[in-house]
Symmetry: C2
């Protein structure tokens, strides 16, 4: 069975007791979260989110430059006023360079990824500071939007503020 | 209290009983999900995901072109072999054009977003087909990767395959 088929089966159970069909599009808690795609992060459990609460934007590393398009839509069209950036310990983005991955793509796929910046980083705390600073300095993110940065520790489940 | 502070408080409860500190980086179910940031989607509940199961990539619309960087990392470095693309009913991306949002940004923020493609769409099923086709035709996604497309119905909680 493909994983997609397993998802359909699990979804039957979810839909059979679903009672949240009347939620509006704008997030109830007026917040957008930017975090990593990492499988170990369960944003809803780790942060206490229910259906309808928050925009959740996820990509490799939780990089805010790539999230900018989504954040503008979130703020300008759907009324969010706060952004929470969460990177995490033991992140895969700490383990490779652009050259490493571009070479691997050439070798394994005989394809060219030289024009892709994979946005890896070498310092976790600095990556959070950089990504918060990117948003705070962007003319596309208004000054009244609150932006804060955190590290999620995959060993302990703890969320730690980054100043 | 900011929402970030509420997250820290909710996270204390999560971390206090956390027992999943030994999970490896590669997703246990070898799958990457691409879906929308929409607040009403709770991927873990809707699909039956536990910590460690799956990469979850989310952006406005669940667009796969923007997810490509993350998917290459997921497949080449972290061993995923299946991609599940999920768009959803009542999506905000059906409600505006690039010109609409670029003009709004000019008026509200006195800033220029003319170089940003916000990736809106006008036909939900077609957007899923387009995003699956984009991946299937990309030289950066190998042919042995299974790609399937779905629509999540926010009124019923049901996941529906798109052929």
């Amino acid at each position: 069975m493909s994983v997609a088929q397993e998802f359909l089966k699990a979804n039957e159970t979810y839909a059979s007791t679903f009672k949240k069909g009347d939620l509006p599009i704008p997030p109830a808690r007026h917040v957008a979260i930017v975090t990593c795609m990492d499988a170990r992060i369960h944003p809803a459990r780790a942060l206490g989110l229910e259906e309808g609460d928050a925009h959740v934007i996820r990509n490799a590393g939780g990089r805010t430059s790539e999230a900018l398009r989504s954040l503008i839509i979130s703020e300008q069209l759907l009324g969010t006023t706060e952004i929470v950036v969460i990177h995490h310990s033991d992140c895969g983005m700490l383990t490779f360079s652009n050259d490493d991955l571009r070479n691997k793509v050439k070798q394994e796929l005989h394809a060219n990824a030289d024009n892709i910046d994979f946005l890896p980083f070498s310092n976790l705390e600095q990556s959070v500071r950089d990504d918060v600073a990117f948003l705070r300095s962007s003319p596309l993110i208004p000054e009244n939007i609150t932006v804060s940065g955190f590290i999620y520790d995959v060993k302990t489940g703890k969320l730690l503020p980054v100043d």
